[in-house]
Amino acid sequence: MVETSLQQHINQQLFEKLELAYFCVDQSMQIIDASENLENYGYTGVVVGANADDCVDFMFGLDAYTELDLPMVESPSGKKVSVSLLPRDSFLTVLISSASAEADQRQLLQQKANENELLVEQQIKLMKQLENASEMLEQKNVQLEEASRLQTSFLSGVSHEFRTPLTSIIGYTNLVKQALQSAGDDGSESDKVQHIGAVQRSSKHLLSLVENLLDHGKLDSDEIIVRPKETDLAELFNDVELLLKPLSDGKHIDFIVELGFEQPMIVVTDDSRLRQCLINLLGNAIKFTDSGSVRLTAKLSDDFLKVGVFDTGPGISQENLAKIKLPFWQAADTGKAGTGLGLTITERIVELMGGELEISSELGCGTQVSFEIPAPQLDAEPKPVESQMLPFKQAKILLAEDDYDIADLIVMMLSERGYEVSHVDNGELALNALENQEFDFVLMDIHMPIMTGYDVLRELQVKGIKTPVAIMSASAVESDRAKAEQLGCFDYLIKPVEIDDVIRIMNLAIDQRA
């Protein structure tokens, strides 16, 4: 090996820098050269002439022809070393370098790997916890939804059960009131009329609360459907004004209605839902206004109806304004009774009608509620003759009908129109009544117990009783009609009968008889 002094110097520097040691062996593994610094690694017996198999443990079993790297070998000094076997023509150079930096690096990597593993484990654990929490929340959500559904279902059920008796109370107290008013024209029954009026007012209030609960239930279950149809807006707003005027009068506040259109103003909208919204908003405004006024404005613009309700009530704080549309919410300090549903329902209905309810208010400055809904305008046309109120002719009517569902309905509808109606539920009683009392008109079913309608007609002919009789039957068979006409009936109506048809035929019969 011939080397220049400069090369020797560089090699020396490198060896020192890299802590390199070396030795060379011939093909019989005898050491032919060795660096002095081998001792640094504890290889003290590695000297020229010695056999590498004997003095260097990692050399045992190796040959002098194969290039090989042995990382992380423990040297006799205890230091970790890296060993490289570099075969050349007739000898093998064995380079030994410190592996401590590499070991440190490996340790660092291992540490990082461990930390990473730990982090991954922690992440997995956290993910699991999150999943569990999410599952629990989902379960809670399902439970809450179920509880809410049950609550709504219960409220709807109870409300529905309340509604029937309440409507009966209102209906029958109305009849009692009418009877008292007729009997006490001299004022003798005025106290009772007032008491009945109080019962009615309370019942109507209770009914409106119940109906709000029912509507809320329906809105919750998406059962409320908006059915737009031809509607005279002016008539609707006038109706609402008439309905609510007594409330504002009762509180001595002004009720101002400003309509930007005249009657008739025909548009397409759901009149009953619009009416409900107006009644709710105006009802609230009047309820919470103790002095000043409530103003209703409405105008049509580009097929949109803009409605505003302004009151001079106490106003709503910003804090309460945020909560006012929540179901069942009521300001604690108002002292006004209600379900807290009116505004919620109105907002939802306005949404269903394609609009948005807006509320603005300040304490002490009143409240303004407004909405805008689509209301396409139609050309105003006169109402068909059929829907106009038929002329009223005083008449005493006998109804012979064994089906009480039908009888009660017809009696009620005719009574509401001002007619005096007597009801019997079989043919024999009908005949007796006609023999003993004067009636202007008879409305009679065919299929009745004891005597059929045909039997009664036959007997009336025999007895010469000329009271006009209209037969009503669910049978549309021509032979049934022919039989009834042959027996002298005035007309033959097929059930279901329209009350307007009954009145029209009755008027005709009375005119002819006169």
Binding site: N174, I406, L409, E416, H447, A474, A476, K495, P496, V497
Partner: protein, 104 residues
Amino acid sequence: MTDHESPQILALKERYKSSLVDKMQSLSDYLIAMESDDATLDQVAELRGFLHKLAGSSGMYDYDDISVASRKAMLAADKVENVAHIDELKVAVGKVASLLQTYC
């Protein structure tokens, strides 16, 4: 019926609605009776009478679909000459019953 009905009329409507369950039950009873071997034409006539009333009352209370279906079932009952051949009537009555069920 007008758009704005009085509480009395609404009360009657509620009463009628709540009676639909019983009416459906009655129809089921008629159907069961006619399934038996000893069914008679009198029973068919009785069923026809029931359908006749239902056609009238349901229409009065705005259940037009029930009214029309009942009337069709009445016509099916009119055609029955032999209780052994009442399949058409049973189908028609079944239709009425299913309509009643939708309102119960």
